[in-house]
C-alpha cells in the first residue's frame, strides 16, 4: 500500500477529533483574540474595534497589578510548601513500618477529592462560628476569641494557601515516593559504608534521583497554581476586599460579573501568555536537566 494512502487514512481517522478540537478550542481562541480588540459587552452590544485599548487599560490598571502580585504570592508560597511537605511525606512513607501501605493509600485522599469538595470542607474548618480551627486554637489557648479566617484580608490568602497545600502536596509526595523507590539500594548501602550521615545521604545520594521528577512536579504545580480559580471561587470569591483576587478570578469578574467581554478577553489572553511563558521556561529547564543527567 502506498505511503501517502497510509498518511491520508491517518488524517481521515483523526478528522473527527480535529473537527471537535477546532470547534471547541480553536474557534473560541480565535474569537477571544478578536473580542479582545473590541469594546463588546457580554450581552447587547456587538462592540466595535478599539485597537489595543483593552490591553493598555488592563496592564496599567491597579486591579491587574494587584491580582498579579496575589497570584504570584499564592503560587510561590503554596508550591514551595507543597514541595517541602511532599518530599518529607515521601521520605516518611519510604521507611519500613507497620501500616505503611494503608498510609500510602490514605495520603492520596486529599488529592483525589474534587476541589469544590475540598474547598467546602475547609470553609467548614475555617467557619467563624463553629469551625474546627477556631475551636482547636481556642482550646489550646493560642487565640482568645473566634476569628473569621476567610473574612479578614490579613488571613484569607494564607488560609487559602493552607487549603490548597493540603489538597496538592499528595501529588508531590506520590511523585517523590516513586523517585525514592528508584534509588538503588546498593548506592544507599555504599553511602552508609562510606560514612555519609542522613543529611549527606539525602543531599548526595537521594537528591540526584529526586531532582528530575521533582522538577516535573514543580512545573505542573506552578502552572496549575498560577491558573488557580475553583478553590478561591468556592471559599472567598476573591474577597475580602479583593485580598484573594487572583488573575483567573479577575478575568472571570471582568468578563462575567461586569460583563465586559472585550477587556475580559484581553485579560484572559494576557494570563494565557504568562502561563505559556512559564511553561516554556520550565520546558527549557527540563531539557537542560535531561541533558545533564
Amino acid at each position: 500500500m502506498p505511503a501517502n494512502w497510509i498518511s491520508t487514512r491517518a488524517w481521515l481517522l483523526m478528522l473527527p477529533l480535529l473537527v471537535v478540537m477546532v470547534s471547541v478550542i480553536g474557534w473560541p481562541l480565535v474569537d477571544t483574540v478578536r473580542l479582545s480588540f473590541t469594546d463588546a459587552k457580554l450581552v447587547g452590544t456587538e462592540g466595535s474595534f478599539v485597537g489595543i485599548a483593552n490591553y493598555e487599560k488592563m496592564l496599567t490598571g491597579s486591579n491587574f497589578q494587584r491580582a498579579l502580585v496575589t497570584t504570584t504570592w499564592f503560587a510561590v508560597v503554596s508550591v514551595a510548601a507543597e514541595m517541602v511537605l511532599g518530599v518529607l511525606a515521601a521520605l516518611l512513607l519510604n521507611q519500613q513500618f507497620r501500616g505503611r501501605a494503608a498510609l500510602r493509600a490514605l495520603m492520596i485522599l486529599p488529592w483525589a477529592l474534587p476541589t469544590v469538595v475540598n474547598a467546602t470542607l475547609w470553609r467548614l474548618i475555617y467557619n467563624p462560628e463553629y469551625g474546627a480551627l477556631n475551636a482547636a486554637l481556642t482550646q489550646l489557648g493560642l487565640i482568645d476569641s473566634y476569628r473569621s479566617w476567610l473574612g479578614e484580608p490579613g488571613s484569607a490568602l494564607t488560609a487559602l494557601i493552607v487549603a490548597d497545600c493540603w489538597k496538592n502536596f499528595p501529588l508531590v509526595a506520590l511523585i517523590a515516593l516513586a523517585a525514592l523507590q528508584a534509588v538503588p539500594r546498593d548506592i544507599t548501602a555504599a553511602a552508609l559504608v562510606d560514612g555519609a550521615g542522613p543529611f549527606n545521604r539525602f543531599r548526595f545520594v537521594v537528591m540526584p534521583y529526586l531532582a528530575g521528577p521533582l522538577l516535573v512536579a514543580l512545573v505542573l504545580r506552578t502552572i496549575e497554581a498560577f491558573k488557580v480559580f475553583d478553590i478561591i471561587w468556592v471559599m472567598t470569591r476573591g474577597g475580602p476586599a479583593n485580598s484573594t483576587r487572583t488573575l483567573s478570578i479577575l478575568v472571570y469578574q471582568e468578563a462575567f460579573s461586569f460583563q465586559r467581554a472585550g477587556s475580559g478577553a484581553s485579560l484572559a489572553l494576557i494570563v494565557t501568555l504568562l502561563v505559556t511563558i512559564l511553561a516554556a521556561a520550565y520546558a527549557a529547564l527540563l531539557r537542560r536537566a535531561a541533558g545533564a543527567s
Binding site: 538503588p184 555504599a190 560514612g195
Partner: protein
Amino acid sequence: MSALEIRNIQKRYGDVETLKGIDIALESGEFLVLLGSSGCGKSTLLNIIAGLAEPSGGDILIGERSIVGAHPKDRDIAMVFQSYALYPNMSVARNIGFGLEMRKVPPAEREKAVRETARLLQIENLLDRRPSQLSGGQRQRVAIGRALVRNPRVFLFDEPLSNLDAKLRMEMRTELKRLHQMLKTTVVYVTHDQIEAMTLATRIAVMRDGRIEQLGTPAEIYDRPATLYVAGFVGSPPMNILDAEIGGDQLRIAGSDELLPLPQDFKRTAVPGGRVKIGIRPEALRLANAGASGVRLIADVEVMELTGPELVTTAKVGEQRVTACLPPRTPLIAGSTQVFSFEEAALHLFDPESGRSLRAP
C-alpha cells in the same frame, strides 16, 4: 590475631533461618571466597559483616573488637557492590574520595590518596568523568578504587564481576589477583562462580542452606571435597557421581558388571547395605592404552562434544552416565565401547544418605 573472626553467626527472617551458625577465622592478608548458589546465605553473611544487616545471634570481631551493632562506617571495612553502586552525579574522583570526604579528611590529603589509587588502578585519565561516561570495566575499577582509597582492614566484595562480559571478567579477575598479591589485604569475596573462587581464593567456604559445607584451600576443595554437594559444585564439568555397592575389597558400579578396587583410605565404618556413591572427576578419566596404569572402566561412548581444548565425552556404564574430558584429537566413534582408566587416588567415596565423604581424614 585474626583479622576477621566470625563466631556462630545466625540470621533469621521470621521463621526462615538464612544463616545457621557460621564460624570462620581469617588471618590478615587472606582472600576468603564465600561460594554457593543463590539463596545459600553468602550475601546475607557479607551484609552482616558490612553492617547492612544485623545478625540474629553470634559475634563478629575485626582485630579483637566486636563490631556487631556498630555503624557500617565505624567497622573499618570497605565494600564493592555487584552493581558498582557509583554515585551517578559525581565525578570519578569524587566517587573515589567520597568516603574520605565524609570522614573529613583534608582536601589536599584526599586528592593525593585519590590520585595514588587511580594510578594503581590505571584510571588516572578518567578522574573527571561521570560514571555514565564509563564502560563496565572502568566502573568496576572505580568501585574498587573507592574501597582501596580508604585502606580498611577488611575488603568486602559482593559478586563484583558478575555484571561484566566473559572476557572482561577474566581480565578483572587477574587484576584483582594482582592487586591482592601486591597489597596483601584481607578480603571476603562473595561469588557463585567456582572459577573465580578457585583462582582468587586463599581459602574457599562453600555454603549451602545457611551452613558452611566445606572450608578449605582451593586445592583441598577440589581434591578432597567433603560432601557430594561440594564435589558437584566445584569443577566443570562437574564430578561424575555414580551409585555403587561394596563387595569385599571391591566396588561394583550399580547396574553393571564393572568392578573397581576400594581405595585404601576408605573408612569402612557404617555404610548400611554396602551402598555408596562414588565420584570421579571428568578430567581424571582418560582412554586406556595397552600397558597403562590405574583403574580400568569400560563404558559405551554416547556423545562427543569438542569444546576446543578438550573433547567432552559422555559414555554409559550400565544405566549410569559418566563424562570424560579427553584430549581434543582423541579418535572416538559414538556407540563404540571403550576402556577408560584413572588413578586410584582420583576415586572419591561418599555416604549416599548424608552425602559426606567416606575418606579417612
